[in-house]
């Protein structure tokens, strides 16, 4: 029983990192129907920026904010340079461009910073462990969970309580109708990249601290997993992305914890395939509505 709880707790931490990344995937997909394959690499850039800030002496929160801001701008830049012109042409062209951006970020980083694994200095977070009825919880877990909860609440507020959020939801449903209401669609898309990429940067920093490793290809696996989480939850749905992320994290942790760590990733992908076979629109996804 304690083992189970322990594994679920570990899964929750990892799952909330997936959730933060998945939210960005799903928001961007929701608004321009593009799987932004460079999203995973924004995580990596975020982790490096955060690491750099920490090494320069900034504390956790300032470093987090710096990384989020830098990546938000990077996200907007990526959309402006690599997607905006090709988006109207074809989805496949935009997807190809996204893969290009992904490789560009990975190997630019590798060129300038090398492929060595770097780590956050232990000072940023001296590991402490607390025991809660036999379940061990570290301050890393608390940090990841706390940061995720705060960011998700802020995100929900932006999307459901602000004028900009309303415009984002309107554009994601029908860009042309939103234009007729005076919404500048290009700006709204840019804002979506801004927010989604900031979330990815936060995830990157947390991932780097949690697994104590920062390297140029670190975004690949969590990016892919978060993509699964987003599809699992129903791509385009923000609550779905969060649910998908947490479920995936917990499943992985359970599989690993009960002796199957070799099969952890395989299980993740099998789940994806099964869920899609049963419910192609994902857990919280809605069927595409035919417009008259």
């Amino acid at each position: 029983m304690q083992d189970l709880l322990q594994q679920l707790l570990n899964g929750l931490s990892q799952g909330s990192i997936y959730a933060l990344i998945a939210v960005g995937y799903t928001m961007i997909y929701g608004i321009i129907q593009l799987i932004n394959f460079a999203h995973g690499d924004v995580i990596m850039v975020g982790a490096y920026v955060a690491l750099g800030a920490v090494l320069m002496g900034f504390g956790f929160i300032p470093s987090l904010l710096i990384a989020m801001l830098v990546c938000a701008v990077l996200g907007v830049l990526i959309e402006r340079v690599a997607y905006r012109r090709v988006r109207p042409v074809s989805r496949l062209a935009a997807l190809t461009s996204a893969i290009g951006v992904s490789l560009f970020l990975e190997y630019t980083m590798m060129y300038f910073l090398g492929a060595d694994i770097r780590t956050f200095p232990p000072g940023v977070l001296a590991e402490r462990t607390y025991s809660l009825g036999g379940v061990m919880i570290t301050n890393k877990d608390l940090l990841v969970l706390g940061t995720t909860v705060i960011l998700v609440v802020v995100l929900q507020y932006i999307i459901f309580r602000t004028r900009t959020g309303k415009a984002m939801r309107a554009v994601s449903f029908d860009g042309q109708a939103a234009q007729l209401m005076g919404v500048n669609v290009n700006n709204t898309v840019a804002i979506t990249f801004f927010i989604g990429s900031a979330m990815a940067a936060a995830a990157g920093m947390l991932y780097g601290i949690y697994f104590n490793s920062v390297q140029p290809l670190m975004g690949l696996m969590p990016g892919l997993k978060a993509f699964i989480a987003a599809v699992l939850g129903g791509i385009g749905s923000i609550p779905g992305a969060m649910l998908g992320g947490i479920l995936l994290g917990m499943t992985e942790s359970l599989v690993a914890g009960f002796g199957g760590s070799m099969y952890r990733d395989a299980v993740a992908f099998i789940i994806l395939i099964l869920i899609l076979l049963i419910k192609p629109t994902g857990l919280l996804g809605k069927g595409v509505q035919e417009k008259v």
Binding site: A170, D174, Q176, A177, A178, Q179, L180, G182, V183, V292
Partner: protein, 240 residues
């Protein structure tokens, strides 16, 4: 129409969709306070004309003037600010947003909170059924209610000119009547109307003037009552 001031003028407007030449030089005017209809068969270019006015499609040649200002090159999201609202074909309400949020989207460009509140009350008074469903998601509304929402949303922009694209499409006859009388009311309260309709008979009944489109060109125009009496118009668009 000597005394009426022109609010909208299209001067030789052309539109191309790739290789398709959809509008081949449209000339039309809408006077302040009028109801003007565009009638014609499917694919004649009626909707495209409205889209070109709204800036949703770019005209490849020609000039659109609204209240004395050249708006040909103004992007769609700024056209609304000039005072032109469009109720698009198929209603296109935001099905994922609540009724209230849809109406708020209509006021997206406005900052005058007091005026927005007033207009919101005015719209909900006009469409009591929307008031009943104010927090419901728009996708759950019936076709008629969605049409009312689309019109209400356009009213929230506080337009000087309202473009309506097939407002009667897919509605039961009783509802069609209701929608048309609402359009007349809106007009009487001072909004100029440019109406595109398949239901030419109803459109001509409430219009001051009308234009008949055929394959991207205007082939006839004149006072609505006169057009409704013309034999060829009757035969082609009014079912004989």
């Amino acid at each position: 129409m000597g005394g009426i001031e022109q609010i909208l003028t299209l001067d030789d407007v052309h539109v191309h969709y790739g290789a398709i030449w959809a509008l081949k030089g449209i000339n039309l005017t809408v006077g302040e306070g009028e109801i003007v209809s565009l009638i014609g068969a499917n694919g004649a270019g009626k909707s495209t004309t409205l889209q070109a006015i709204s800036g949703v499609v770019k005209s490849s040649a020609g000039k659109t003037t609204f209240r004395g200002e050249d708006i040909t090159k103004v992007p769609a999201h700024n056209i609304v600010k000039k005072g032109i609202a469009q109720v698009p074909e198929g209603r296109r309400v935001f099905a994922n947003l609540s009724v209230l949020e849809n109406l708020e989207m209509g006021a997206y460009i406005r900052r005058d909170n007091k005026g927005i509140k007033q207009d919101m009350e005015m719209v909900l008074e006009r469409f009591p059924r929307l008031k009943e469903r104010i927090s419901q998601v728009a996708g759950t509304l019936s076709g008629g209610e969605q049409q009312m929402l689309a019109i209400g949303r356009a009213l929230m922009t506080r337009p000087k000119l309202m473009l309506l694209d097939e407002p009667s499409m897919g509605l039961a006859p009783l509802l069609v009547k209701e929608i048309f009388s609402i359009i007349q009311e809106i007009n009487q309260e001072g909004t100029t109307i440019l109406l595109v309709e398949q239901n030419a008979r109803m459109a001509l009944q409430i219009s001051d003037r009308a234009y008949v489109l055929e394959t991207g060109r205007i082939v006839l125009d004149g006072p609505a009552k006169e057009l409704a009496r013309q034999e060829d118009v009757k035969k082609a668009y009014l079912g004989g």
